[in-house]
Amino acid sequence: MTSTRNATLFALALLAPALLYIIGIVAYPLVDTINLSFTNAALKKTYEFVGWANYEKIFKNNFNDVIVRTFVWTFFSVSIKMIVGTFGAVLLNAAVPGRALFRILTMPPWVVPMAIGIFMWGWMYNGQFGMISGLLQNFHIVDGPIAWLAYGNTAFWATIVTDVWIGVPLVTIYLLAAMQSIPRDLYEAAWTDGAGRFYRFRRITFPMIIPALVTMSLLSLIATFNSFDIIWILTRGGPSGSTTTMIIDTYKTAIGSYKYGEGAARAVMICIFLSLFCLAYFRVVGKINTGEKA
């Protein structure tokens, strides 16, 4: 095409609607969050600048615990997602009859309205009538009903399991796609040399999907860190704060108690962590690909 300047202008014109929209609905609120975090904004119309007071306040309260809890929650959720997802992808990659159907059956948690899937989990966790407690009693593994969401410890794990459930289809399908892009010749060569199935997995499949695993772990980390719906629907951060992650904490402060300034300070902390993860993601993905190219 002829003039590059013209082309650039045209491209920018094409981009403008999307760009302006994102600036208005995402970038501006992001700046506004930072701004608000230094004020005592609340329900009333006016507010003033209060410096670092909000930050001092949240760290004097229990925010450190919330941060630690969020990281523990996220760590277990992401790790289990990766393990279950790899397991699922290996199984769905096996050339057995019916695998096309099995792949379809993997997808519902992902495409169904998230909240509705979580309602169903809520019922499953019910102590008296839910499936998990019920089946465990029927098989005499436990003696009495267990109300999974009623105790801090079990609620913590129950929310992780549901988060894993939501994330597993994506991880599985993504890793499956990575496995299917491995050249068949590698397997054929290995097979000819007498390599067994497990050996082939360990020496070919696994090393070849490591880039996909790393990419997916980071994406999953970001998504899990942001996870709101699951905890809010199942426990609302309870019992007694045992499932209160940073995002739930922010929501409770800002929307529940109308402390916008303090909530914004918490949101800023979340943004800082997210930016770090985001940087790591771009770094790692960039490195993986330049490494592949060389």
């Binding site: 094409l14 169904v112 993504y174 993986i288």
Partner: protein
Amino acid sequence: MTDQPLNIAAEKTAHPADDLAVVPAVKKPAKAVRAMIDRYTWYEYVAIYAGIFVFLFFVLAPFIEGFMVSLKPLSRLFSTPYSFWPEQGSLTAYFTMWQSVPGFWRYILNSLGLSTVITVVVLIMVVPAAYAFARFPFKGRGIMLAGFLAVNMFSGAVLLIPLYRLMRSLGFLNTYFAMIVPGVAFLIPSAIWLLRTYMMRIPRELDEAAWVDGASRLYTLRRVILPIAMPGISVVAITTFIGAYAQQFIFALTFNSKTEFMPLPIGLFAYFGRQEVVWNELMAASFVGISPVLILIVFLQRYLVAGLTAGAVKT
């Protein structure tokens, strides 16, 4: 040139998904070795199917349980000991729920309507943007693309406070706009991503031929690129729609309190909080509510996989 590595990165991440989309399990004539690699002994078959059973049971358990609950009469539902199979099961709940969940139609229509509007708005912005990213090597392209991606990293929940204030000052609180406007923003990035990858595969020669023939750039986009990109645009439309349908929660929960505007998940959530929950009917209602997507995945599975894995950048 600093933005170059990022672009390559982008290419590669989306790659496995594309393969799956373009080559829908084409069966090549089996060579001897291939056939033998894929031959399993009987105990391997048993192990694989047992593994798949466990895996799928985990994935589908809530739906199975939900379906069983929807079949159980209320009296059996709250009885111990627990029984997995519905005794005296019936589909009654599927008929009575229309009275017990008043406005259920309204919720479903709201959900479908919101998702449709969101999808249309997203497409209007994304089609030109994706074309710009796919074709024009303008300055700062890599940075901008990365910027769009970064949007995905911040969920609506983090930005809720300023968004709430923004919706309030625009007068959007308790209207459909309060759910549409922020909903659109968080679906734009992955849609751009997906469509850009698709458009980059359209041969550049087509644009150039149109250019030589004296067509303007806009005309080329409208008359040459758009028709060819239609399949890609449809995939983006479907995935955006599903994304919009699946993620109706936090904005609707926070920005709208009017029953008549509630989408299905929030409408049901309001019921789940009550004491005298009619669980079998609510489960039945949930099933009716998710059936549109369940039907979609059966028919459009292949496209969904492509779309959603490319959108993996999102999630």
